[in-house]
């Protein structure tokens, strides 16, 4: 995979993360939306991981689990503050 491929993929992930952060900030005063945006952001991250590794032809259950577990850690940490 070339440099341009990785750059485009990471730019897409950055856009997902930035959109999630903006949404969380913009709708910060609505508890339900806050949870929805946090959940969608980490789902986007997991989806990106699966898609990216699939294209790289290196997708395995271990990798999917890694993305899922880190998403769970991020959601749990956010829930400590925002009481999802």
């Amino acid at each position: 995979m070339n440099y341009r491929f990785h750059l485009l993929h990471y730019a897409l992930l950055l856009a997902i993360i930035a959109l999630g952060l903006f949404g969380f900030w913009y709708f910060s005063f609505n508890r339900n939306l806050r949870f929805g945006i946090a959940a969608l952001s980490v789902l986007g991250y997991v989806g990106w991981g699966v898609w990216h590794h699939c294209i790289e032809k290196r997708l395995s259950w271990s990798i999917v689990l890694e993305y899922l577990l880190l998403s769970l850690v991020v959601l749990s940490a956010l829930s400590l503050i925002f009481r999802f």
Partner: protein, 313 residues
């Protein structure tokens, strides 16, 4: 000493003995962090409800500050400041207590009770009335800033030229199983008859107050008013600001933020070390990309830093 260094090295840096992955980043470790955070949330919730004096929601919201900040926003826009009205404050206080008692967080209660009931109960017979709600905020400034930043009618309430009076209640309690501070802000104006504010008996008021939008987050209504000619001086209670900042030994929100920062920076450090070593060694392994993981951890840190846990209605 060597053993300690080796132990730390295996946990924080990728190594061939650990499958080129730091032990602190393996699946088992990530699962442990998630379970730990999950259990910690339950534990904090349990302790904060059972022992609110030790671990609780610490807020420093004062009625006076809310009123002053609200009036600052109005005067900045060239509007007249609102006058404190004890009856509106009483209505706001009763509304807050009702929300705790009935365990709801809305303008209209599940049993259909509207804010206007609480206002009328205090014999404040309004021409216009409105309500802003907030919870889980820690400072008065944050509350007013959230309302002013709202696109859902809170800002319009604060800057409404039809209001002349304000009442605010700040009440602590347990809502939805979580300890919190509720802020109820009520606005209103009474009809002026012959140079004085008049009150009317409930029977004389027709029709019943009807919110512009029942689904809307704030209400701003107009109703017909029939005066009985009673002056406000005879009916208005004295000014008794209600402010009860709760200061537990440990603030549950600050603790949550600290834990979130700790985990965020811990994971960020681990992934940075991981990606640097893997790049330097030029290793290829079956694993997720650390750069992607770094991005999601930055999302956690930025959200913790930028966003207030408070909500408004």
């Amino acid at each position: 000493m060597k053993r300690v260094v080796r132990y730390i090295n295996r946990h924080v840096a990728p190594h061939h003995e650990t499958g080129e992955k730091a032990l602190a980043l393996r699946h088992e470790a990530l699962l442990f962090y998630a379970i730990f955070l999950f259990l910690l949330q339950f534990g904090l919730h349990f302790v904060s409800v059972r022992f609110p004096g030790i671990l609780g929601f610490a807020s420093n919201i004062a009625v006076d500050d809310i009123i002053n900040d609200t009036n600052k926003e109005r005067t900045t826009q060239g509007l007249k400041p609102l006058k404190f009205d004890g009856r509106l404050s009483q209505a706001a206080s009763e509304k807050a207590s009702y929300m705790f008692a009935k365990n709801y967080w809305a303008h209209t209660a599940p049993d259909g009770m509207t804010p206007w009931f609480f206002i009328q109960k205090t014999k404040y017979y309004y021409l216009y009335a409105g309500e802003n709600l907030a919870k889980d905020f820690q400072t008065s400034k944050d509350v007013v800033e959230a309302w002013m930043g709202s696109k859902a009618g809170h800002r319009e309430n604060i800057l409404n030229v039809n209001y002349s009076d304000i009442g605010v209640a700040v009440t602590n309690g347990v809502l939805d199983g979580f300890e919190t501070t509720l802020v109820v802000q009520m606005f209103g104006s009474e009809k002026i008859v012959s140079g004085m504010v008049a009150a009317a008996s409930p029977k004389e008021i027709e029709p019943e107050p009807t919110p512009v939008s029942l689904e809307g987050p704030t209400f701003n209504i107009e109703k017909k008013f029939v005066s009985s000619g009673v002056s406000v001086a005879a009916t208005q209670p004295s000014y008794t600001p209600i402010s009860n900042p709760l200061i537990p030994l440990v603030d549950v929100v600050a603790l949550g933020k600290s834990v979130s920062y700790t985990f965020g920076f811990f994971l960020l450090g681990l992934f940075l070390v991981d990606s640097l070593i893997i790049a330097r060694k030029g290793l290829v392994r079956i694993s997720g990309h650390s750069v992607a993981h770094i991005m999601v951890v930055i999302l956690l840190l930025a959200t913790t830093w930028l966003v207030s846990p408070g909500t408004i209605r």
